[in-house]
């Protein structure tokens, strides 16, 4: 789910305490968008959600502090919305720069265990 101006769906996901969430920060055409595209194909489990937040201004101050590591970054949240892992988007890519679905799945697998 791409979040540009309205974060309703993000809020809904955050309210569901059975879901784990991967939030990618970046604009269209960015590396984050490529990773988002790969994640949408790989992640179809109903209890896992992927969001591409293109406007960090939609985040609360606290969320920005906790989740946001700058443009082209990501954060993985557990069912209790605790930050499981965050970092540069390159960490979810091969050395060549292409998105790596295995690493996306790995992040979710860690979040699911929290």
């Amino acid at each position: 789910m791409k979040i540009t101006t309205d974060r309703t769906q993000l809020n809904a996901a955050l309210q569901d305490t059975d879901r784990t969430i991967l939030i990618l920060f970046g604009s269209d055409g960015s590396k984050s968008a490529e990773v988002y595209s790969s994640a949408c194909k790989a992640i179809t489990e109903p209890f896992r959600n992927v969001f591409l937040v293109q406007n960090p201004g939609l985040l609360t101050a606290q969320e920005q502090t906790d989740w946001y590591s700058g443009d082209e970054s990501y954060v993985a949240l557990s069912r209790s919305q605790a930050v499981v892992e965050k970092g540069a988007i390159a960490q979810l890519c091969f050395a060549s720069g292409k998105p790596e679905a295995r690493k996306i799945r790995r992040v979710f697998s860690i979040a699911d265990q929290e």
Binding site: R79, K98, A101, S109, D112
Partner: protein
Amino acid sequence: MNRQSFLIIAAITLATACATPQRGRSPANQLETALQLKELTTGNKEISLSTGNDIETKRISAHVEVDINSTIEIDFAADKVKTGSNLPDSALMSKLSEDQKDLHQTISLLSQVVEARIAAIKAYEQKKLASTPGVTVDSTTATGFITAAKEFGRLEQKLTELSLWERGTFTEEEQTRAFEDPTYHELGVLLQARLQDTENSLRAAIESANKSEAKLKLEAFLESPGASPLPIHLPGYDALEAKELQIKNNDALLMSSKERKVLEDKFTAIRGFAYQAERLRTSEASLNSALTKAGKEAAARFPEIIEKAKPILTTDWKSRGENLEAAIALFRTKIGQIPSGLAEEEKTYWTGISSGISVNLTQTIPVSDIQNLAATLTVLNQNWQKCSPETLLETIQQTQEAVTQGLAISTQLKKQGVGSAFGSWRRFSEAINTRPGEIKEETWKAVTQAAVESGLQGEIANLQETVRDIQAFTAVVNQAIQFASVNPSQVDIQVSKHFDVPLLSAPSTRLELQRTPRELNDRISFRATVSAGTETITSETVFSVRQFGWHSILAPSVILTRPVNPRSTFDQDFKFAPAIAWTYKYYPRSWEEGWLAATARFLKIGGGLHLTFLDQAPNKDTEIGIGLALSFWDDRLVTGAGLDLMDNSRTYIYIGSNLIPILQALGFGDATNAGKKP
């Protein structure tokens, strides 16, 4: 210096000069450099039969003489032989083996991940449904979502963090395609294909290494005048029987009646078996009847056991293995096909199901192992059909290998259970049936029906029959093997079967002269051959069987005796008498120096006891004399002194030679010839 002293000194000098160590020759090839031969004497003294360790300094004795009771120890330095292919690509095989192991483990883990994923999804949806007013759901499943999700996460983390993904085994494109498939179906297909490739590569590498790996063959033969060369057992390099020890010692010349009986029995058994074996070889008799008539109770049981194993040996295993493989492939194809008309989510579920079953099936049934066993059994069946005495041991060995293969497969199938392959099928079925409205029951039934129509059920029945046959085969043939492994030694088949031993793991061995029926002056030819592909290097050494060190000799001779203090004119003459002398002699090696070696070499002297029948007292019927004996030049001259035990222990002296009987044999001393007979 008088003339006599001069002659003695000159003779000793000459004898000593002959003892100069021989220079020997340089090794003819790398193989001779690699071979280290040592003679171990009965006194545990080691004598190197070559000096130096490399091609520059090594010298090989030109004429190798060894003691009749010694052991020749044979060591081999494989690193000194550089053939084009004596080093198999162990790094490649090691990597392939590691990949194979990892892939097996990954496929197993993937199977668990797929099942855990479905369980988690199901639990999540049950939980959501549970919160919908008016809908009744499985409360246990619903409350188990967190547990299921955590288990799924745990397994998936393990899968995604495997080092396999970082080793370059898979390209970025392959990994992307595999992990972007949410059902893991693509990953299962990728792993399975890679496992197949890896196993093929490993099999090819092993076959290639077996074909091209340098092999060492060692053979030794005893060559006696007028007899065919007799193969000598070299432990680790042949299937010959180790013979009993026979120490050449004249202290025990006579053969006991028991030993004679054993020898006669053995000869009779061998002769009977050899006759039947020859009939078999010339196609006059079948193997069964030949063995039945071989006269040995144990051998007679052999055809009976082979008869029991016949149904197993005559089964077309190759075709059975191929059918099984084809059925599995067909089954995979069928379950991999997504039924038409499914909704997107149904397709997702269906690919998950097909992936899980495919992975489970492959993991459970060792198709390639069964195929290998099928090939082995086909060859084995042919070999038993044309079995001859020459190939009997080899065929037994091949059967033993087949039994080992069969046991491995049987154990694996027994452990995992054939039905377990379909456990996941049932579980998926249950999972889907409990999700009414999401996967249409009609669709599921149609697909199940298609799987039945593909002949899967029949092949499963065949597979179970195969398992039973493998178990029966291993039981029956193993019984035959246990018996057969003992039997050949009982009938003592002398088959010269020398093994090719991998050069790099060539064991040290020994040639025990005491286990051969050698005689003095026999020769032992020892041949080493290294072959790698078309390249062959050979080295041959001939050992002459001699006596060295102290040995006792029992020598009959004709002697002339005379009392020291004659009492009458009757006593004054030297009279002939038969005697036997038991003397100890020292036999020096050609390179030995010192006074003992020089004296022994020149005089060939021996000392000991003698016993003789005298004729010195006219009033005595029997006179036995006993005393000391000295022997020179291999009993050409014997002399000594003793006591006449029958005549108040009168002393006497004697002189004689072992040439006298030869003189008699030539006819001298007859009435018609010169001289008088003793």
